[in-house]
Amino acid sequence: MVKVVTIVSFVIVSLFADLQKSCLACHEKEQIPSELIYKRYLLKYSTPKNIEEAMLRYLKSPTKTTSIMPPQFFLKFPMKTEIGLDDDTLRVNIELYMKKFDIKKRLYYR
């Protein structure tokens, strides 16, 4: 049992490490507001599935039209370059990204 928990924890930690390395590291460096971006996706697409598809579209072809952010955003922040990861890896990273900022985790009763 302990072994299983250890293995699962290791896998999760290593996956988050991948996300950090593939995405967030650059976001932090460029001071791109990740949470704000997630909220904009949430505001427009509502469901995790819709958000995932929209993000995937953007990550595969990052342009002003596929981006969720307004054009003025790119006056201050650079347009991202293509990462070159395959779809499956991108999807895993998107899911981790959504889990990290998941709004449900922050909602509480009084």
Binding site: L43, S46, K49, N50, I103, L107, Y108, Y109
Partner: protein
């Protein structure tokens, strides 16, 4: 009041009250339904107002950078948010209610679209318990209104019914006065005729068997019986009864003898089957009225050359004739006063009514069976 008047009044009141109350019930139900719906709409408006409040609080939460987002709560209202696929996100509802499965009749629901989707929510479900107090008040008021209307229309109907049957009552009263007067006027001449017939018969034996005298005797006895019935009716059966032990077989034989002239005129074959010593505790006049009416009817409505069968047993008196009979339709009404099934013979239609009253008064059982053109059988059981 006579039973026919009562029946007419009851029929009138039933039709009047049923139709009026049905109309009122329909109007009250419509009023109740519309007002209840209006009350529910008012409660729903309050719910929607609270929903718009929650919605603006969701917008504030969406813009908040806090790590701890406190879900908005409104007093007496439960709510939940759902994404575009109608999947539950968060809420205060006890259970995760599916958006399409809300069927609790004690609650009011409202689903409000959220656009843009603050916190990812596309729908806001707000639920409130129905405030039953105004609805219960409305139900009580409607019931009280119906009750008052029922009482009012019942009283009004009773007065209208009185007006409705007034002409009938007047005509019956007029008939009763006429019978009273006629009875009074008939008494002396009938007694005089019968006494004088007896005197003539005793004075001149040759005259006794003449056809003319027999006809006078038959007519006088018929008149005498009618007089007795009318006098009985005038007293409305309410006179002091002297109950005594009467040998019923003996009385039947006496009355047959009394009516023998009438039976002979119709050439009837009389068959008597009378057990001796059958004694009944009964008023003599009541017993006479029963015997006279049954025997005279059996003679009157018999065919010429027909049969008259009378049987007295320990528990029954049977009078059977082979006459015109009564049709099935009239058989149900034959015991009513002034009701005559066959108008070919004279009479007022009071004979069987008197028999029925006497029978009921003593707790006996009266049974009449008849077939048209074959005869009638009357059985009294005691």
């Amino acid at each position: 009041m006579l039973s026919s008047q009562n029946r007419s009044l009851i029929r009138f009141l039933s039709i009047y009250l049923i139709s009026t109350l049905m109309l009122f019930a329909l109007a009250s139900w419509l009023f109740y339904s519309f007002t209840k719906q209006h009350l529910l709409d008012q409660q729903k408006d309050i719910l929607l107002y609270e929903a718009s409040h929650i919605k603006s609080q969701l917008r504030e939460l969406h813009q908040s950078h806090s790590n701890r987002l406190i879900y908005p709560v409104a007093e007496q209202i439960e709510s939940a948010i759902y994404d575009l696929d109608k999947r539950y996100i968060f809420g205060t509802l006890d259970e995760r209610v599916e958006l399409h499965s809300m069927d609790d009749i004690d609650k009011i629901y409202a689903i409000v679209d959220i656009e843009p989707h603050y916190l990812g929510a596309a729908y806001l479900l707000v639920v409130k318990n129905i405030d039953l107090e105004p609805i219960t008040n409305l139900e009580n008021k409607t019931l009280i209104f119906m009750l008052i209307a029922t009482i009012f229309f019942a009283v009004l109907g009773y007065f209208l019914g009185g007006l409705f049957i007034a002409p009938m009552r007047e005509s019956i009263e007029r008939m009763n006065y006429f019978i009273q007067d006629a009875t009074h006027e008939l008494n002396t001449p009938i007694s005089t005729i019968l006494t004088n017939i007896e005197m003539i018969e005793s004075m001149d034996k040759n005259l006794k068997n003449t056809q003319e005298l027999k006809r006078i005797e038959i007519a006088s006895k018929t008149l005498s019986r009618i007089y007795d019935d009318l006098a009985y009716l005038n007293l409305n059966h309410n006179y002091h009864r002297h109950i005594e032990s009467i040998e019923i077989g003996l009385m039947v034989e006496e009355r047959i003898e009394y009516f023998r002239v009438l039976a002979k005129a119709k050439e009837l074959k009389i068959k008597l089957d009378i057990e001796p010593n059958i004694v009944l505790d009964i008023d003599k006049n009541d017993a006479l009225r029963v015997c006279d009416n049954l025997i005279s009817n059996a003679i009157k409505y018999n065919k010429v050359g027909g049969q008259l069968y009378i049987q007295v047993t320990q528990n029954t008196l049977v009078v059977e004739d082979s006459g015109v009979g009564i049709n099935e339709r009239d058989l149900g009404f034959i015991l009513e006063r002034f009701r005559r099934a066959n108008k070919s013979e004279g009479g007022f239609g009071i004979g069987l009514n008197i028999v029925n009253h006497v029978v009921r008064n003593y707790g006996f059982d009266l049974q009449i069976s008849s077939q048209q053109n074959q005869g009638t059988k009357v059985v009294i059981r005691w």
